[in-house]
Assembly symmetry: C2
Homo-oligomer: 519 residues x 2
């Protein structure tokens, strides 16, 4: 990916005139181009260390050129992009290495311990919480451990419906390999096109179809992890009572405890039937109650998401190509997938009956398909808005149903209190459980002269509001370095002690992604 922008330049979104007009009216615009040609700081690693790395991995797998280092500098949060756009590349790694096997990863870790080099595992580079920004102090340098050579589908067990995936596979690469066996993972986060299997596991990713296929942590049945203390091999069975579930320590560990080198996941047959529908509800509250009703009746479809009134209005304004009168209230997308048309239809019938009973009006499939077509496109729009000086970012949380409204109000209030009344704070629910749901906010505000500082203040206020409301600081974006102080509040001092003890045990030299996740 480009260091200052999301994804493929060919896909870049020209701001639709309607959106630009709206933005100009509400927030004001001013051209804010990125500074593209910046000198990187030189690599701080000695020739001796580089020679040792080359001897270990081969010359081609030890990469020092500016472009490679630039592309592995930070992730894709708005602050990451703003820093890169301002020409600040101080977090660039000193070297990029590309091991080709589990043993080579282990050897790199060993070398890093000996030379006290910070190691940042790198996959798709799509972190939005500072997960790729390792602390430099106290280290001889920062090494980006790129897993781009781990691209194999290693085992296919169609009886157990499990496969072993290598961690460097990006979403579409994994799906293409699985498609050869008529299988799918069904994991489609917004970062799907770039993010990797390792990242999905290391951050407890959740995707747009997770209601049907399960969160990534629920898909993982086994893990192989290279740690400075040796190899962890976990996952003896689908479920068991053999002590604490150590897989759940690795999931969400964000490269701080080890490097995941293989992931055994549950797969499904590739769906042959896909129906996406739009539904309309009077209000966010009634739509949310309907989602709760489905979840608690064990009738969740494959995809379910609900936009609040503000997001509904904005999304529909940009869907001017979809015919018919724009609906008011709140838009819900409901998707059904499967391999057996009869079963899909039977389940769809049950869901439709419940949604009607719960106050929904079916708007048909056109807007459902429009959502599906654009499901990975929002980050491109962000780049276009940053280009015109608008601060755009997302944040997300989750809580129990009875606390949903309080949390929603608290986060919106924190955002407008810090960013001003002109702020657009849109929200949707995209992940639903029997006991609660996620809330995903998209925020747009005038960037002003100091957008980084402006956002830092808003983010801090919103995150503290989540903690004060008894919710989590992240439903599916992970802790990174950005959420660390609030994460400590979330798990409390004894929880922090436990994490630090595990970190100390597996990584006594502290070389693995220092400054990330572990408080």
């Amino acid at each position: 990916m480009h260091p200052t922008r999301w994804g493929d330049p060919a896909e870049a979104a020209l701001l639709p005139q309607a959106t630009r007009d709206l933005v100009e009216l509400v927030l004001g615009v001013r051209d804010s181009p990125a500074i593209e040609s910046v000198e990187l700081p030189g690599s701080s690693l000695s020739q001796e260390v580089l020679a040792e790395l080359r001897a270990l991995l081969g010359d081609d797998q030890v990469v020092l050129d500016d472009d490679s280092r630039r592309l592995r500098t930070r992730g894709k949060s708005t602050p990451d992009l703003l820093r890169a756009r301002a020409g600040d590349l101080t977090d660039a790694p000193d070297v990029v290495v590309r091991p080709g096997s589990h043993d080579e990863v282990a050897a790199v870790l060993d070398l890093a311990v000996r030379h006290r080099i910070a190691v940042v595992p790198f996959g798709g580079g799509t972190s939005v919480t500072g997960g790729l920004v390792a602390r430099r102090e106290g280290f001889a340098g920062v090494l980006s451990l790129d897993l781009c050579r781990f691209k194999a589908l290693r085992e296919v067990d169609k009886v157990s419906m499990t496969v072993v995936l290598e961690p460097g596979l990006r979403g579409p690469e994994a799906e293409a390999l699985l498609a050869e066996h008529d299988l799918t993972l069904g994991h489609f986060p917004q970062s799907f096109e770039y993010a990797t299997i390792r990242g999905f596991a290391a951050t407890r990713s959740s995707g747009q179809s997770s209601a049907g296929y399960g969160r990534f942590d629920a898909l993982v049945v086994g893990l192989t992890v290279a740690t400075p203390q040796g190899t962890l091999e976990l996952g003896s069975s689908p479920a068991n009572a053999a002590g604490p579930d150590l897989r759940q320590l690795v999931l969400g560990s964000e490269g701080t405890l080890g490097v995941i080198t293989a992931v055994r996941v549950r797969v499904r047959h590739r769906p042959t039937v896909k129906v996406y529908e739009a539904w309309q509800f009077d209000s966010f509250a009634s739509g949310s109650d309907a989602m709760r009703g489905l979840a608690q009746a064990n009738l969740l479809p494959t995809v379910i998401r609900l936009s609040d009134e503000a997001e509904t209005a904005i999304n529909l304004a940009s869907q001017s190509d979809v015919g018919g009168a724009a609906p008011t209230g709140c838009l819900m997308i409901v998707g059904h997938e499967g391999t057996d048309p009869e079963l899909v239809e039977a389940r769809r019938g049950l869901v439709t009956g419940q949604l009607e009973k719960l106050g929904g009006a079916n708007l048909g499939e056109e807007r459902g398909r429009a959502w599906e077509a654009g499901r990975f496109h929002a980050p491109y729009l962000r780049d276009s808005l940053l280009d015109v000086g608008v601060l755009v970012e997302t944040l997300e949380t989750a809580t129990f149903w009875s606390n949903r409204e309080r949390l929603y109000d608290a986060v919106k209030q924190a955002l407008t209190a810090t960013l001003g009344e002109k702020t657009l704070a849109l929200c949707h629910i995209s992940h639903v459980y029997e006991t609660g749901c996620s809330l995903y906010f998209t925020v747009a505000a005038p960037g002003g002269d100091a957008p980084l500082e402006t956002w830092a203040e808003a983010k801090a206020a919103a995150t503290q509001a989540m903690i004060d409301a008894g919710a989590t600081v992240t439903h599916h974006h992970a802790v990174g370095s950005d959420h660390r102080p609030w994460f400590a509040q979330e798990i409390g001092p004894v929880g922090v002690q436990v994490l630090r003890a595990v970190k100390r045990e597996l990584d006594p030299a502290g070389i693995l992604n220092p400054g990330v996740m572990v408080p």
Copy 2:
């Protein structure tokens, strides 16, 4: 419960004549009554310590009488019962204390650290893996921390469908409190009548209706834990990406990391519709394939279990009161529960269609109801068999579908190789996942002169067979002290390091259930 037998004496099972005849024919019988009046070893704790405990909790909550100590000696595995029947009560705790609040639990832990007393949390006393047998060496004594005063239903959130249960509630007590709110936990392990909420959480219990309601670890959304380092308060949301899931370290920790003092669980509406059916399959393989088909089509009913040919034959022999010709092959029990008759019927129709397609023959509801009526009764039958000198015990494991047959053969082979050709080794599958299933074995063999040694040899061989087959050593009975050596093989040396590090951090004095779980 009685120290040498299961449950309520009034429920004791007289061995049906048909079963006794069968047992006599196959295994031989000889009267083997339990020695009932045995002197307990005196309490090793000093008057000073006892006075301090009394000052802390009140005189009534520090219990030293023989009966109370005898009832908290070990659990209910066959070796536990054999030792008790032989008059061996050397593992009796020195004192039983009954704290009444989280703070009192914390104070007891503090006292135990200062005086170096081993602490065994006690709930229902139903462990079958030596989970209540703390190591004495190096300690001033053993304290049984009875949670019998933690009996409240503390919070009821019918919007989120969660409640907070205190840990000392037994299964039926929790269900009775929930029934007042028209709710159910739906957790029905065979130990349901005696086991407690704390035990369910601490051992990752799984129940007979877990296909529909979920394993206990899936029901838990939050935990409060008293540790020697302070209080752990976990569970900010239904699911999140905020680092590793620390709840999963407490679940399965078997009292070695702290004492669970409150559990927030997901609940369901109490079912008003319950249908239990029996189905017949030609073979264990075809029945197992049908279960797999249901699981992988996302069509699991509330209850599903399948007996192998041997268990089917034995069970039907003892169901002579159920009319009709006894079916051959393998018996499957399928249960559907819910609150909406239409939804239950719709789902039942889909399941029925699939089971017929997969080779099943519906035998109607009578045998299904017979299974439901006797679902908690097997442990009584074990007592009656031990009375006539027959060694009876159960063991269980789980694996992925493609490994099921290999595991089944390996465990059976290990049992008959060590116990002899006369051994009855029955098996059923009672827990089913998309990727695999559990295997639950019931073993009966002549007890001989040294039944403890005989069983120890068989258990070791069977457990090693599980490890060698790549499976888990326990699907729902936990590690205890019995599975510890093989558990270390299952999680490997780095996994052992992690567990020891967490243990050392939370319980540096090592007073919590020493000798249990942590290798």
